[in-house]
Subunit: 520 residues, 2 copies
């Protein structure tokens, strides 16, 4: 494909344009998918109709775009906290913002936006933004006083509530100053049609370094000649389809096409593949306040705990780190629902994405992203004793994984589809009061870097994921580990999940309770 | 019309909902257009299809909605600066934000959002938001360090760049802290389909008081049983149509309908009414960099000058205050264009909305808003001497007003249409390089309150308007007087009007130059 993303406008007036602050603009270079470099995207304007790059949107991405509405924005987010390097000046945050903004070249992923093509019966296509404005996407924000973490979480909640408009590339980044402890925040937001949550996190990590003295590092949206292997965009996934056997490819494509637009066909697939109920799939979760229609108001809460504490609990009770994370969620959700007088008698069921083994992952990766399956975990929220809950979670997780490894590739694909496209599948289950939800909430645990990382000398001290609540699934818990700490990111509908932030103290209480129960 | 805007949901879970900060929600009452009060819009959710209020959108408002695109957001804005009252605590801005947010009742204007009705061939209708979320509309923001006016203007520029999504009521307000001089900022943004710029400003003023000790004052979006007379929404304008003679009404409706969707008919009207060129209408303005297609990036700059200084110049030179304002713009734009080596040889022409006399206004007001006509003013930008420019502006303005008073009602309506709906009319003139623009920029001067006003004890110390640049008209200058100061609000496309903020110092230089020329 040879095409120009943006072209120079030869009028002399255009060469005089400056930045908002009056300083001259550095020339921005845009790399089109053909690999050619084109100068002037920032100061030029696209005038020639034949100049734009248009490509079709794959069915999974289209599904995320079409499922979206005011109440269900389909973007994933990340909150990163940085510690300023030694000797940082007063204007450090502004300088960091300027470094993030003044990239020389933008990666194609961050230049495309969806459009309905009128000529071809409303088909969705990706179009490259030929009036790309980096200042729209990279922003310098500040917190109101007193600048506690609470104000930061409030800002992130608000930013995460607003939909990304289709008329521009589907991402935003906010460099945030005003934390009273002097740390710098960065909230990023990327549409699920571009990357999934894990990839979005890895995308950021891919520009970090373990070397605190390294400088000249690019922004995550900057173009790099050799993109980090860990970053898998939906575009990459599409390309990688050619690497899997043709039969698996057809099946995978069938699933995604069905997920995007053919519910009845998908229901048939699900029925066929999963009627022999393994414990991996439970379609019998109790009803809870989480399983209602949601609104567009978001509430985000986040906190981290030393992995050492969680590992000690696991070691003493012969369970895994992941089991302990699940048990923390179980206990916290139990207390939360009890306070609201809304705890069901039967245990809640969590949908937990898990990594697949090599045989499984080859097929599942064709589905469009990460090689994950999904396990339905009974959380034991009916049990009073923390130790009992931990045991119940451990057993259910083990059964689920065994069930998964006994499944056929088609079954795994169907499972993956549930994990990958819950928003699309939800209506199929008619969860909104008609039948019981297949699970009550999504809990994912994504491992991150184990050592301290830096961006141009600023130490990354914390990284927290913001995910996507959907109709019928108003609370999402995503955990991610980094540098010896386990971070919990809780994203919910503010109206459906009241006082979501209380879950943080319940989680904290649960760590203490589990420690006591395990005798550590 | 009897209808319920929002209804209680009887589930016990719903009564427990809280605010983001965890405190209980005050009950929000919504008043539907039928005048009935309905509780629980904030905590309840609309589930019954028959419950929503739908009303058609008048053609003028529809025109503004349909003309809008990414490059041409159609909202007006306002920036207000408040001085904290004596003894204000550390959390004053947060408290002010909470007062603005925690309104008991929302006025209907702030509850409706547009929707395309699929059942009736895509007709645009107003629908009341039954999941209204005040926290989406009223926001607490902060400025990055060092918190100068420059950071404030940058934030306003950014906020003014983003389109209001149709899926929610078309307004936003940001209470802004972090100005290093301790003042509190408020940026508001309202869609032109709801109010025009003048009304938006008056809407705010209508809740202010001259009494510094008065408390318990409502937010501008709060419902008041007796709305201030000065505030005219498009809805009011629609209603007032019944008060004008039927013939004038038909003509007016014809104009707006044509402006909204029938360009060729409008061109005929304009040709018929205005072919006998008075000096009030010039279709021969030179081409400038302002008269190009624009992008969606906005730049806002604002400053005020003591009216006393401007009045002294007027008095000494036998011109009006408004003439001096125009001459300031003339000189500033001249210097600005000279610096860019882009000053045309022939003088620039400004479109200036002017108030009409009683006879005229009765008819023009039927057009849908304020009783204004438009005068085309030759700015004398070809003249070197500031005194010559002031004289040229004075003469051109006088001729224009005389021309206007000699016009027939139909001609005035056509003129008004240009002023009211430039975005809709612009394509008709094919200003984008094919024929010459009818005028180069819009300069309005709207008188405001003459005395100090307060909101719950906070003194309003400055008020600046943000307007709408459109394709072919990349710079808008709106002036508004308040308490002895004349405020200039400059809104432009950041890419088409580079270094817009330079106009501020040019305006300042021009005041000095005019003072010198007038001998004051």
């Amino acid at each position: 494909m040879r095409a120009v993303v943006a072209c120079h406008r030869a009028s002399p007036a255009w060469t005089r344009l400056g930045r908002a602050d009056g300083r001259p603009l550095p020339e921005l270079v845009v790399r089109s998918p053909c690999g050619h470099r084109h100068a002037g995207a920032r100061i030029g304007r696209h005038t020639n109709e034949g100049c734009s790059v248009i490509s079709p949107i794959d069915p999974t991405s289209a599904g995320f775009l079409l499922a979206e509405n005011r109440n269900m924005p389909m973007h994933v987010g990340g909150l990163q906290l940085f510690k300023k390097p030694e000797g940082a000046g007063r204007n450090y945050t502004r300088e960091m913002y300027e470094q993030m903004r003044d990239v020389e070249e933008i990666a194609p992923l961050f230049l495309k936006h969806p459009r309905r093509k009128l000529k071809t019966a409303g088909q969705l296509v990706w179009e490259y933004d030929d009036e790309f404005d980096i200042e729209h996407h990279v922003r310098h924000s500040a917190l109101p006083k007193p600048g506690r973490v609470r104000e930061l979480l409030e800002l992130c909640s608000r930013l995460h509530s607003t939909r990304l408009a289709w008329e521009r590339p589907l991402w935003e980044a906010h460099i945030i100053e005003g934390l009273r402890d002097g740390r710098v925040g960065m909230y990023t937001k990327t549409h699920h049609a571009l990357v999934d949550g894990v990839s979005a996190m890895r995308l950021l990590q891919s520009v970090l370094s373990t070397d605190p003295d390294k400088r000249g590092m690019p922004a995550p949206w900057g173009y790099r000649s050799a993109p980090a292997k860990a970053v898998r965009t939906r575009e990459d996934a599409e390309k990688s389809l050619s690497e899997v056997p043709i039969q698996a490819l057809r099946t995978a494509m069938g699933i995604t096409a069905e997920a995007a637009g053919m519910p009845s066909a998908l229901i048939r697939t699900l029925n066929k593949g999963l009627r022999n109920e393994t414990s991996a799939l439970s379609l019998y979760a109790p009803r809870t306040i989480f399983n209602q229609s949601i609104t567009g108001s978001r509430r985000f809460a986040a906190q981290d705990w030393p992995m050492e504490r969680l590992r000690a609990i696991g070691k003493a009770s012969d369970t895994t780190l992941n089991d302990v994370v699940m048990a923390m969620c179980s206990g916290a959700v139990r207390t939360y629902l009890m306070e609201l007088d809304a705890l069901p008698e039967t245990p809640l069921v969590a949908m937990v994405p898990v990594g697949l083994n090599a045989k499984q992952s080859q097929i599942a990766s064709a589905e469009g992203g990460n090689a994950v399956g999904a396990v339905m975990v009974k959380l034991g929220t009916d049990l009073h004793d923390p130790a009992d809950r931990l045991r119940a979670v451990h057993r259910s997780m083990k059964d689920g994984k065994e069930g998964l490894s006994a499944m056929t590739p088609v079954q795994i694909l169907a499972m993956s589809a549930i994990g990958q496209a819950p928003a699309i599948l939800t209506p199929l289950f008619r969860m909104q009061g008609i039948v019981r939800p297949p699970y009550n909430l999504i809990i994912s645990n994504v491992p991150g870097p184990k050592t301290t990382h830096y961006w141009n000398g600023a130490e990354l001290v914390g990284t927290y994921p913001l995910s996507i609540p959907i109709n019928g699934m108003a609370l999402n818990i995503t955990c991610t580990s980094y540098n010896g700490k386990m971070a919990f990111g809780l994203t919910g509908c503010r109206r459906t999940v009241p006082h979501l932030q209380r879950l943080l103290s319940h989680l904290d209480d649960e760590v203490t309770a589990l420690e006591k129960a395990a005798g550590v």
